[in-house]
């Protein structure tokens, strides 16, 4: 989105991408402890893959375009095998399937996405100030 209020489009796309990333992380954390039997696939962790959107001038890093989520990548179906023979879903060898999710890594990613969301939000605030300044050229006597 270029034109007169282009910054809102750029930073807005950034906030949207950050939010989708956070949704994926929240999903992973919520499903961290979902146990399946070894006959089923594990809960596959979600990862939002981001890519740049070029502006009208075709430049990736020019004054237009933005960023977007290219796809949500699904992680391992095998997950991690845990030995828990007392679990109702345990197989003959006492194994169950857990998702391949590391909480520490998820928390780190969460901080990155949160920070990104805040930065894009700050940029929108600054842009709003500038646009208001530009409009004020007309108003003041």
């Amino acid at each position: 989105m270029s034109g007169m209020f282009g910054i809102f489009g750029i930073s807005g796309s950034g906030m949207k991408a950050n939010r989708i990333s956070l949704d994926a992380i929240a999903d992973n954390i919520a499903n961290m402890n979902v146990i399946k039997s070894t006959d089923d696939d594990a809960f596959q962790p979600r990862t939002a893959i981001l890519e740049t959107v070029a502006g009208d001038d075709g430049r990736t890093n020019g004054p237009g375009g933005g960023v977007r989520v290219k796809e949500i990548e699904l992680g391992s179906k095998e997950g991690r095998l845990l030995f828990d023979p007392n679990h109702p879903l345990a197989d003959d060898e006492g194994l169950v399937r857990a998702p391949d999710i590391d909480l520490g890594e998820q928390m780190t990613q969460m901080l990155v996405s949160q920070r990104g969301y805040q930065m894009n939000s700050t940029t929108i605030e600054k842009a709003k100030e500038m646009y208001q300044q530009a409009i004020s050229i007309l108003g003041r006597q």
């Binding site: 282009g6 502006g55 430049r59 890093n61 960023v67 990155v112 894009n120 050229i137 003041r140």
Partner: protein, 115 residues
């Protein structure tokens, strides 16, 4: 009627807005693998135009790749630098808007005085 000051102010305001857009772009792409940050240049061209006597209104801001070192994922956005640029560009924009307003006020005052 050509007013060099107004042309220079207008050219600067436009260029600062382009710089802010590129800064917004860099911030939005701060975590995208293999993204190269953009940088906007116009001060040198504007100075040359003013010193050389050509019309500053024709000076266009140019976007080039940042020479910063990339991290392990190929992204070279320096977020602290982008935030500083964001703040500075915002303040300079305000400064130049006020300059333009002052200039316009002067012109209106002269117009009313000449009546």
């Amino acid at each position: 009627m050509n007013d060099l000051t107004i042309d220079a102010l207008q050219s600067t305001l436009h260029a600062l807005m382009v710089r802010q857009k590129v800064t917004a772009k860099n911030i939005a792409n701060a975590e995208v693998p293999n993204y190269t940050a953009g940088k906007v240049n116009f001060e040198d061209s504007l100075r040359s135009a003013l010193n050389g006597g050509s019309n500053p209104i024709s000076v266009q801001p140019t976007t080039t790749d940042s020479a910063n070192l990339a991290g392990p994922d190929g992204n070279n956005v320096d977020i602290e630098e982008e935030v500083l640029t964001l703040m500075e560009t915002s303040m300079r924009y305000q400064l130049f808007v006020e300059g333009l307003q002052a200039k316009l006020r002067d012109m209106r005052t002269s117009l009313s005085r000449d009546r």
